[in-house]
Every structure is written in C-alpha cells, then in structure tokens.
C-alpha cells in the first residue's frame, strides 16, 4: 500500500546527517599555533556595527603602542602579540570571542574599547581570570576585581565642563538630550547634580530611542521654544551628527550653546562646519591638544600610517594608552597574578598620548581639555590639570 512506504520515509532527517559530520570536524581544522613566549593581548574594538567608524583608529593606535613596546623589549622581555577581535556586534557575540581568546588563544591580558553592555558581559565572562583594561569614555562604576579603567569618568568630563559653561559662558538653564541607554542617563544624573550645585536649572530632559532611525526636527523645535541657555548632549555617533546639523539648520546655534559629552574628531567631521558653531566638548584628548607628548605621539602615528592614517580620536588614543598601561602594570606586578596586579595598579604610572597618567582606585586622574569647534577642528579653550576621577572603588 502506498501509505505504508510513506510512513517510514525519513529523508529529511537523513538529508542533514552527513552535513552534521562535516561541520563537526570543520572547526578543529582551523586551529592556530602561536609561539609560546609571546605576550598575548586580546583587543576588543569595533570592527563591525555602527561604532566601526572608530575601528581603524582603535586598531592603528593600539598597533602603534604594540610596536613601540616591542621595539623597547616587549613586556618583561616577551614580544606583544595582538589579537584584534570584533566587539561591534551584540554582547553575546563578543563574549563568545572572549571565550575563544581565553581558552584557545590563551591570551595573557584583554583590552576593551566598546560600550558598557559589552563590558559588563565581558567582566562576567572573564571572571577576573586575566587582567582586563577598559578604555573608552564611560558612565563610571566599574570596580570589578582585576579590571582597570583608563576611561574619562563623569566626574572628569561633566563637572569641569558644566561648571565652565555656567561660570564663564553664564549658562543658567540647561536642556538635556541623549540616547536612551545607561551612559547618557548616568551622565545626566551627574550633570543635574553639578548644575544644581551651581544654582542652575534644568529646562527639560529628553531621550531618543537608541539604535532607532531618529530625526530631530521635533526635539529641536521644542528646544527652540524652551529657550535654554545651553543644551547638554549625550547623543552618540550618527544621532549626535544628525541632531547638531538639525539644530544649526534651524538657526539655533547662534543663541544657544551646546556641550556634547561624546564629541571627537570623527563625529565633528560629520557635523561639519555649518553645524558646529557654538558647540563645545570636554575630553582628555584632542588631536590638536598641546604638549610634547601628543606631538611625539602624532609624529609616530603619521610616520607609521602616513597619509592614509585613520582619523585621530580619543577612542583610538585610549587604546594606545591601554597597551602602555598593560606593559607598565604587568612589569610592575612582575607577572599576571591578579592579586599582584591589583596591588601594582595603585600608583601605577604609564604613558598616554596626552602624557603620563597615574592610576589609583582602578581609575586614572588626568588633565582635561575644554574645546570649542572651529569648523571641523577643535580649539582648546581651557586646560584643567589633575582632574580626579571621583570613582570610589574599594581596594580589593
């Protein structure tokens, strides 16, 4: 009977069985052998995704530091081998790569330049087994064991810049606008405190969905009608560009000052000369920051990468500092023992593109710059030395 034959047909099930065997074996063939005496550093940077705009300078700056360290004898005599790894996708993809770095490549140390969601996922994955250095501007609060932060903190960025805006630019009222995720919200909490301390007021606080296709005509019109003295911007990337171009397009740039908390050279290039009038930024590094250290760094950077050098930016130079931090930290601790590293980190001095930095409490005190935009360049308006990071990590 026809039906009887049908009943036991499992062609589909079979159809895949062979495939299962083939792919089960495939990954095993692609292993990689490394020299045993290299000092292996995994670098998480944005190779894909919206942040990949920073990818080239992240990689180039880290590479430059690796070259310099290796030329000077490596870390405790071991040459650094860099494992650049994409952290531009969802956190789960990045932790998967982290597991590979830990178990397969057996890296000695990790450096990360990515968002906080990924950082938290990574901290949970690494479980303090290897030292982890986190580099980009963030909202504060990272005190995990064997984790070292060289990023600008809210205390360093926001207190000086808001105070400056209020005291020297006479801004009394602020409009806060940001992307809806943790960095803008935490930063605004700090900002509101400083604004209140200085006797200013918040006109409105507004967030746009992070990762959605945003447009800003409505928000800008609201700002126009609210007439604040200044706008504090915690938008990032394309949203930041889009907002500022719309803002200037509506002609608000002459009367209302803007302070953006994540505004570096790439973003400014997007905003353009016709959008950057009366726009300010505050960070620990600008490509045209003064000082011998930056000059030396830039000479080396352009000597290595020439005319095709990726646009310099703090996101990149922090990776440069990260590699230098790794060298100083491991050499001071005479190895990668977590306890020794944690002890060594206190009072550790290492090189950044902006000069030497000193770490304590797992964070770094540093010189901050307040910059105004001149076309698509930053112009340093004020230099504030030895700004405390303000994080309260208990020494472990």
């Amino acid at each position: 009977m026809a039906q009887q034959i049908l009943a036991t047909t499992r062609r589909d099930f079979l159809g895949g069985a062979m495939g299962g065997i083939a792919l089960g074996l495939a990954p095993g063939l692609i292993g990689s052998a490394q020299a045993a005496d290299d000092f292996k550093i995994g670098l998480f940077y944005a190779q894909s995704g919206p942040a990949s705009l920073f990818g080239p300078t992240q990689l180039a700056s880290a590479q430059l530091a690796v070259d310099e360290v290796n030329k000077a004898g490596g870390i405790m005599g071991r040459q650094i081998k860099l494992f650049p790894t994409d952290a531009g996708g969802p956190p789960a993809d990045t932790t998967k790569s982290a597991v590979r770095l830990l178990l397969e490549d057996k890296v000695d140390l990790l450096i990360g330049s990515h968002d906080s969601a990924t950082r938290e996922a990574l901290v949970a994955t690494i479980k303090s087994k290897v030292p982890y250095i986190y580099t980009p501007v963030y909202e504060g609060g990272e005190c995990s064991y064997n984790t070292y932060v060289i990023a600008d903190t809210p205390e360093q960025q926001i207190r000086p810049s808001v105070t400056w805006m209020m005291q020297e630019r006479k801004a009394r009222s602020f409009y806060l606008i940001g992307d809806d995720y943790v960095w803008p919200r935490k930063s605004n909490e700090h900002a509101k405190k400083y604004i209140a301390d200085n006797g200013g007021k918040i006109v409105n606080e507004e967030y746009v969905p992070f990762g959605a296709p945003n447009k800003f005509e409505e928000a800008v019109t609201r700002i126009k009608s609210a007439k604040p003295d200044a706008v504090l911007i915690t938008l990032v990337g394309a949203d930041n560009v889009n907002f500022n171009r719309t803002f200037a397009g509506f002609g608000l740039d002459k009367e209302i000052a803007r302070l953006s908390l994540l505004l570096e050279e790439n973003t400014l290039k997007g905003i353009g000369a016709d959008g950057s009038n009366n726009l300010f930024s505050c960070m620990s590094y600008y490509a045209n920051a003064p000082g011998e250290a930056n000059k030396k760094f830039k000479d080396a950077y352009f000597a290595k990468f020439g005319d095709k050098a990726p646009q310099l930016s703090i996101i990149g130079t922090d990776c440069y500092a990260g590699v230098n931090c790794a060298k100083a930290l491991v050499e001071k601790a005479q190895g990668t023992n977590a306890r020794a590293l944690m002890t060594a980190a206190n009072g550790l001095t290492f090189n950044s593109a902006a000069g030497p930095w000193t770490m304590y409490g797992q964070h770094v005190d540093k010189t901050m710059y307040i910059a105004g935009c001149k076309g698509t360049e930053f112009e340093i308006i004020k230099t504030i030395e030895h700004v405390k990071h303000g994080e309260a990590c208990k020494a472990a």
């Binding site: 039906q3 047909t9 969802p90 590979r100 995720y181």
Partner: protein, 574 residues
C-alpha cells in the same frame, strides 16, 4: 533510518570528547540558534510563510528564563519553570498566528512584515522597560542551571535542547500535520476544501516555531548569564532566516546545518579575514541563485539511495467519516451573488434531493461553477440562503461546510503536485476523519479504506505511492482528484467537468466510476457537464442555468422538449 538518527545522536553526544572547551561552548550556543532556525524552516520550508521576527520568541523566553533564574537561584523549580518560559513563547506565537491568519488568511509578505515589526517592537520594549529587562545593558547576573554550569554540562544541555527540537520536528514532519503543511504551502484553498482549518494549521506551525525558538531562548539565558535586547531584535531574526535559507529550509536538518556552518565559520574567520562580510554576502547571493534548496539540497542526492530501505508496515483501517451519512438534501432559495459589478447569480432557487446523480448544464457564464463556489463557501451570497438538509450553511467558511459532508472536484485538476500520490490520497482519507491531536500521529499514514482498495483496483497507478503527483499525466491527475473527492465519502459530491481533457477510454472509465460510486455510496452527486452525451448517460435530473438563474429542470427528455432551453441552447447537443 533509525541507524542514521542514532548515529547523529551519538555524534552530538560524543563530539565534546574531540573538541576543546571553547569549541564545545561555541557549538552549544549555535545549537540554541539552530533550535530557533529549525522553527523558521518549519514555517518557511513546510507551511510556506516566512517569519521575519523569530528572535522575538527567542528573546521572550530568554528574558523569562533569566528573570526566573534570578528570582529562584538554584532551586530545583527552575527545571519546571524554564520549559514554561519556552511554552509561553510558543503560546504567544500561536496566538499571534491565530489572530493574523484568521484575519488575513494569506501567507504573503504581510505576515512576514508583521513579525518583523513585532520584533522591532520587542527590541524597543526590552530597551525601554528598564526596571524589568535592565534596559540596553541587559539583564545581568543570571545564574547558571543548578549543577550544570561548566562548559561540558552547558554543551549537553544545549545539545539535548536541539535534539528535542529536532525530534519534535522529525515527528511533526512525519505526521499528517506535516503533510498538510506542505499541501497548504502549495494550495491553501484546496486544503480548506478537504475540510481542514488552514488558518489554524498555519497558526500551529507558527506556534511550534515559537516554541522551538523559546526552547533555545530559555537555555540561552543561563548559558550566557546575560540577556540583552539584541536577542529579541531584528539582527538575530535576520541571521536566523539567512542561516535557514543557506542551510536549506525544506529539510529538517537544513537550518541546523546553516547555523553551524555559517555561524561557526563566521566566529572562526571574522577576525582573521578582513573582507569576511563581503565573502558572506556573495555566498548568500550565490546560494539563492544557484542552490535555492540550500546546502542540504546539494548533499541530499548523496543519501537518496538510502530510501530503498523502507520497511512496509501493515495498513490500518480508517475509521468511518464523522457526522451524518444519509444523502444530502440541498436547497438554494433566492440566492444572488456578485463579483465586483458583475451579477453572477440572480435569485437562483433550486432543490437537489439525494441520492442520485444530477447534472447542471448551461452556457458559459450561466453561473454553474459559481454555484459550486457558493456551495463550498468560497463565494459569499449577497442575498438568499443555502440549506444543507435543514441547516443553513450560508456564510460558513469552506472547511466547516466540507465537514458537513460536501466534497468537490475542480474542472482543472488541483492536486498537490509537490506531494506524492500516496500523500495526496492520505489527505483525502484524513479529510473529515481526523482532526486535532490525531493529526500528530504518523500511524494515520497507514490508513486504508474499502473505497481506496476499490479505486486502486480500478486504477493501479494509484498504488505507486512514492511517485510525485507532478509526474502524473493529465488524465491520471483527473482520476487522482476524483479519487480524492470520493475517498472523503461525502454526502454531496460536486464534480466540475470530471471528464475534461480525457481520452474516450478514460472518459468511459470515469463515467463508470461515478455511476458505481453513486450506487455504492447512495449520495447526491452533482456534475457540471457540457457534453450532452455524458449528461444523458449520467443524469437522472438535469438543471439548466442561464444568467445566474434556473431556466428549467427535469429528466433529459423534459429538458430536450423545453422550448426555453432550446432557445438558448441551440447546438448544445452534439
């Protein structure tokens, strides 16, 4: 086949022995994605609609499981609640499917777009609803499954989840419901006209796919320790679809193959090959253009020879058809219907009292086929009513009318050409005999009935079960469809030109079959026919339609003598 399945299971179970912890961990994660992608294969490859937001169900279960684990810690209760999280995702999918399909009844891009928009919505809610989901940074600090937290245990948990999904899938694909899914992907209307609620069938498919995604998601939470909005969003949804397409959506294992191959290779090579994404994009395009059945379609021929091993198993007698069995009494009173501006039926009234064979004749456009469409619920009347026995059937959906004992054969044979002859016959046998949970029992494929035996005796080609219906000649297709209509053993059988395009010999045998069926089943058979020779041979009573109304009725002599009929029907007689 059992040997191969067992080998597959053994391979999955033994694999970690030959793999490092990292590969095991990575495979474990991809097993979970594979579970979700299998659901896409089920919807897209089987039931014919493409869900674009499958990560929504994956993410929902992941968040539910994460919250449960945070709440309960290492209590043993998590082993009860985690399956519930997966089931919730399945139920949500089923609910969405029911709502959308019932409203639309189609499987085109609109359904896909709804699922896509829902997935974007899920992502935004997961991002905005900080208090519960942890916002953009995600739900953190989810503990592992109690006692199963190391890499190899996590591997086995994932492997088990995937094996459960694949076993469920294999079972469903082998069950009647699997055959019905493939049938409705090809011709949904025809499946409804065998009395099946196609919208419910599609909703079940979507529900199962949601369950599969949910199983993956529920394990994902403890395995990763973190759930971020991305696992509910568009990115993962799109990846799952691409993986399923590349691996091959038609086979059960295709999506798994796609996930493991593309996904695993991506993790391996993304950081080593700079232009990896370009390679992938080119690869997808190549697969779509050159291997539309996916990679599994490429290796399928290698294993086709194994089909020779089929064991035959004893046939099982099908139960009698549900519902009333006495011949139908059909009454149309004052029925009018329009298509657009055109009046199709104009105050048509007629009565057909079975048993017996009745013919409807009339010039083109008289409303003959429209009358059939009206009777099977596919044409909604603007006025009047249709009574089957004494119950009104006006406005009922087709599958409910069929369930009351109506069977139909179309003028152009509408069999399921992608299915085998045996599967076609099975669908007819299941019609009005199996419903609900029974459709999950592969045993039903072994059903037989005295009618089937008789049909096979008359037409031996019907016994060549594994032949695809597409390979049949036109005449064989006509016979197959007629056989399918008869197998349902209806009380009212509607035959639209059953002999169209047949040779004289075939015509004779079909006429003989219809007359035999009329005698044997004692039912009402209504035949639309142009050929007056056949009408004369078949009909006891003839109805003549013109311009959507009844012109005359009676036996052949009465009709021939009728002046009105002669007036409109000059030359109608051969």
């Amino acid at each position: 086949m059992r040997v191969v399945s067992a080998a597959l299971v053994a391979l999955i179970l033994l694999l970690p022995l030959g793999l490092s912890d990292y590969r095991a961990y990575q495979l474990a994660l991809y097993f979970l994605y594979a579970a979700a992608a299998t659901g896409i294969g089920l919807c897209w490859g089987r039931a014919g609609f493409l869900p674009l937001g499958q990560a929504m169900f994956f993410g929902l279960a992941a968040y539910l499981a994460g919250l449960t684990l945070i709440w309960l810690g290492d209590s043993i209760w998590v082993f009860v609640l985690l399956p519930l999280a997966a089931a919730t995702a399945g139920l949500l999918a089923y609910g969405i499917g029911l709502l959308v399909f019932r409203r639309q009844g189609e499987s085109g891009p609109y359904f896909s777009m709804i699922t896509l928009a829902l997935s974007l919505l899920a992502f935004q809610l997961a991002t905005s609803w900080n208090d519960v989901t942890g916002g953009f940074n995600g739900l953190k600090g989810i503990p592992g499954l109690p006692g199963l937290d190391d890499f190899s245990a996590a591997y086995y948990v994932s492997a088990t989840a995937l094996l459960i999904v694949l076993s469920l899938g294999a079972w469903l694909y082998a069950a009647p419901v699997g055959v019905l899914w493939r049938a409705l992907a090809q011709n949904e209307r025809r499946v409804a006209l065998f009395g099946f609620n196609t919208n419910a069938l599609k909703a079940v498919a979507f529900g199962v796919s949601g369950l599969f995604a949910g199983i993956g998601g529920a394990i994902y939470a403890p395995q990763q320790g973190l759930v971020t909005p991305q696992v509910a969003g568009f990115g993962l949804s799109a990846d799952l679809v691409i993986w399923a397409a590349v691996g091959g959506r038609f086979g059960l294992l295709g999506p798994t193959l796609g996930v493991l191959l593309v996904g695993a290779l991506t993790t391996e090579l993304r950081d080593r090959i700079g232009f990896w994404e370009v390679l992938m994009a080119g690869f997808f395009i190549l697969v779509v253009l050159a291997f539309p059945r996916g990679l599994i379609g490429v290796i399928a021929p290698l294993v086709r020879w194994l089909e020779g091993w089929q064991r035959t198993r004893p046939a099982v007698p099908a139960p009698p058809r549900r519902g009333a069995t006495e011949p139908a009494q059909l009454t149309l009173s004052d029925v009018s219907a329009e298509i657009g501006e055109v009046k199709i039926l104009d105050h048509l009234s007629l009565r057909i009292a079975g048993p017996g064979i009745f013919c409807i004749i009339g010039p083109n456009g008289a409303g003959k086929t429209s009358t059939f469409n009206l009777l099977t619920g596919e044409l909604a009347p603007r006025g009047g009513c249709v009574l089957l026995d004494d119950a009104e059937i006006t406005g009922l959906p087709p599958h409910r009318i069929i369930a009351r004992g109506v069977g139909r054969k179309f003028q152009i044979p509408t069999i399921f050409t992608d299915l085998t002859v045996a599967e076609n016959l099975c669908i007819a046998l299941w019609s009005c005999r199996a419903a609900g949970i029974e459709l999950l029992m592969p045993r039903l494929k072994r059903w037989t009935s005295p009618m089937l035996d008789e049909l096979v005796r008359r037409y031996p080609f019907l016994a060549a079960g594994r032949r695809r219906a597409a390979e049949l000649s036109h005449g064989q297709r006509q016979v197959l469809e007629l056989a399918m209509a008869l197998l349902t053993e209806p009380r009212l059988l509607l035959l639209d030109e059953p002999c169209a395009g047949l040779s004289p010999e075939e015509t004779a045998s079909v006429i003989d079959l219809i007359r035999w069926a009329g005698r044997k089943l004692q039912i009402a058979i209504v035949v639309i026919e142009h050929d007056m020779t056949l009408v004369k041979e078949l009909a006891e009573t003839i109805y003549v339609l013109q311009n959507g109304a009844l012109l005359a009725q009676g036996d052949i002599d009465t009709i021939r003598a009728n002046a009105d009929v002669r007036a409109v029907y000059v030359g109608g007689e051969k």
